[in-house]
Symmetry: C3
Subunit: 369 residues, 3 copies
């Protein structure tokens, strides 16, 4: 697995963490136990007792602490052992790793890198349930596939034409045009106009719209997308630049999605989606969630199958296409940051290492090297 | 896995390949997608898109071509990419491996070796449903065991006495006598007379027959067997030579069987069986298929159990018996052809390499070395 | 796996071995077939035919012998092949390993080491169903965990307070006090008094008892425990020494338990439990078996979870606590005997090798090194 460690990873939906009930999670192949203490604070520790390695997620919450229920060692939220039954003294080295935690935008975020570098301002600006502009449904899906493959999928929406022909009904032309790609400091922005599109909510209508969708795909694997339909002609009037979403005519919606690597071949995919409060209601949200369930199931079938093929011959090269520009930019960013992190851990910086991908983008052209 | 590559492997029953519905198969641990195109032709490609390795078997048939349904690359039956959505040019190296295919005797045969050597005359002379001499039922069974173990099983029918005591009712004497073994250019012939046998279809009858069965076991793992009951005394009259099956009194039947290695520990076993049209009808065929289902299930239990034992200590030597003569001849043929193929691939011939088996046959005697 | 080989391992409940029905078992990762012959004798052979490695446990008992039902080889209880169908002579090297067997105390014991060293006097003094002092129920449970982890569990009853809070109701004080630990030649004795305890069978009663429990944990993983309630004051009167169980007031009971390593990550746990005939009846035994089923299920959840954690990072050190004294003594004994056995097999003795554990006990104190 090649993932940036100094990042906030989504570990759970805030609402899925009941008070005083420890929950096991796996992030970057590390076992993590999460619990919400008696005061409502959420904590994350390495899910392995120092004594005989029983999982603390089978433990019992006591106040703000967590007790291992094999032989009774009591852990503080900082990972320090406070009590060992049958023993007067607790050796100071009796501690497990504690992970920084932030609860924000309805998600529990865990910092997997150097705790000294944990910076809450790096939490991506997802839209949570506390944002009353949008009426959101949510869920999660577990994948038997590496997170990177799901990120690749989300970075190239040309698959909508093929994988989601039945659910999202994107149509053939969607895959024929390339979106606008903008590199960001911690991700990539992908935007596209579709002109003179029919009303997908009312196929019999003669009305036509200029549809716009834009998403930021941010480290470590967070997609934040807004989309809406505008009056026909808006795209040209704006010279295909970004619109003011408040001028949207209909169909304005927002989705927050996060891909969390569990092990080298499993991942958890968190998602919310729903209409803007001025463009829909709870019934529309429920309809959208049904479409999402169908579509995300289509992704899962394809990506898990792809994962099994890759697992059999991981050495076989891929052949990127023009639609892979955002994929390549993002993966190059990840590779670059991972090299920097490795350099920091080794006490030196790696310089001049070539990107692993053999593809280079020159302007809008793709060059196979 | 040690299997001859320059061979036709049974990939499917012809009747199981619906038009325009791609089907995944695995042969010699290679992923193969099969499809019957709009013209009825069957094609076989490597089941892995050049782009991001999605399986083409999740794709969509379009005319004679196959489209990957992840990002829409279109493949010709020759494996060449014809279209990449969003991209004007298709790089010439964008292609996957295509396998020669022959549909014959109701089976779809795929050539796994050098396509330049594919020779349809090497397809074994199985009996298909288009041969109106026989009334055939058919099926297939998947094994969690290496194909070689199933071939070994089919090359030594002495197991009928033990594995199939309940189904085929071969009786103890069957295992006590050795059959006649004849080496063939691409296999082994196994024949045997059983004299003065009762009528297995009518155990109360006083009638006695001389039963004859003969099968060719051919590369890569195809068993073609004819059997029948003759008038008592026929065996001696023929000096135990082969009879003319047209003189059979009763019970004439034919079975075609093929063992296809999928992975190193899985295989698919294809089989048909049924009476000669002069010796039975559809009802008899159905009764025979019930016995076959029982018997082949007995084989599966034994061989999968054997496979699990071998997997735990593959280095332990076997101890061949007198009944293993056909097994040894066939495996020696396979080993010899595999060495020759390796030599061709390496641009040189391997000479003087000793057979891996420590058993040698001298005339009819078996020598443990 | 590090286990002493020159030991009697429990392979089955005597009552689970029906006559003439071979049963497969795995001990120390070796496949063993057990069968009770026509005379009632129990035998154990390597469960792998010399011919093509079919499991003999799929075979057929014939008198005192066992026939492989793949190609009919017949094996004597000593492992010698007696018949090979189709072959006049049987090569003398045609034999499989035979294991010494003793049936005693309702268990079938198999000697996994050098047969020449098999010594029936080393069978631990378990209590079988033929001992009419106790009214015993019994069962077994299969673990997806290494036997050693179950042994560790049984050597440290402080887990009763946590794992079995609901079932055995040991209470917090149980884990706070250390038991008396006595090294034995082939194991460890663990004993403890609990003073002024309420009657667990009648919580409303004002009666108070001094409870005593003592168990020997013996190679290779056999726990033999007796427990009872005595008149309040008995513990002090005996200066906390062992009581005469015949003076017990109530609650006298006995349990025999055995942990058999199957593979490196599976084990079978055999157990019996029940009241002394003077302190209970079949109804009490059935009630105790219900509690045992609940409690042993609690152990299984914890130990299998622990096993999965350890499997992911087996190199991580454990941190023993004061309660681990019996665990450490027993594992040190096992390590020492294993070194001696390796020395014998290598024709030399290993001297001066340090114990693998970094913990040393000095008197009653535990020292972290």
């Amino acid at each position: 697995m090649t993932y940036v460690r100094n990042c906030w990873y989504v570990a759970a939906w805030d609402s899925d963490l009941a008070q005083l009930q420890p929950v096991p999670m796996r992030i970057l192949d590390e076992r993590v136990v999460l619990w919400r203490d008696a005061d409502g604070q959420v904590h994350a520790l390495e899910d392995r007792c120092v004594h005989r390695h029983a999982p603390l997620s089978l433990g019992r919450c006591e106040g703000i602490n967590l007790r291992c229920m094999y032989h009774g060692l009591l852990f503080s939220p900082e990972g320090q052992v406070l009590e060992i039954p049958g023993q007067d003294k607790v050796p100071p080295q009796a501690r497990v790793r504690a992970y920084p935690v932030v609860v924000r935008h309805s998600w529990v975020w865990v910092w997997m890198g150097d705790p000294a570098l944990a910076d809450a301002s790096l939490v991506p600006p997802a839209v949570g349930f506390d944002d009353d502009r949008f009426i959101l449904g949510h869920g999660h899906l577990d994948y038997a596939a590496e997170a990177r493959l799901i990120c690749d999928n989300l970075l190239d929406f040309s698959h909508l034409t093929f994988v989601h022909a039945a659910s999202f009904q994107a149509g053939p032309s969607f895959a024929e045009r390339l979106p606008d790609i903008t590199p960001l400091e911690r991700g990539v922005r992908v935007s596209r106009w579709s002109q003179n599109a029919p009303d997908i909510r009312d196929p019999n209508s003669a009305d036509r719209f200029d549809n716009y969708m834009t998403y930021d795909f941010l480290l470590p694997g967070v997609l934040l997308m807004e989309a809406a339909s505008f009056a026909s002609g808006t795209a040209e009037a704006l010279d295909f630049g970004p619109p003011d979403f408040d001028t949207a005519v209909t169909g304005r919606n927002f989705t927050s999605q996060a891909v969390t690597p569990m092990s080298g071949d499993t991942a958890r995919y968190f998602f919310s989606w729903g209409p803007h409060c001025g463009h829909g209601d709870a019934a529309m949200r429920d309809g959208m969630m049904k479409i999402a369930a169908m579509a995300f199931g289509e992704d899962k079938v394809m990506i898990e199958a792809q994962s099994r093929v890759i697992a059999e011959s991981p050495e076989r090269p891929i052949m990127p296409t023009a639609h892979d520009r955002a994929v390549t930019l993002f993966n190059r960013l990840v590779a670059s940051l991972c090299r920097a992190e490795r350099g920091q851990r080794h006490g030196s910086s790696l310089q001049g290492a070539a990107p692993s991908s053999a593809v280079q983008f020159e302007g809008d052209k793709i060059a196979f090297r």
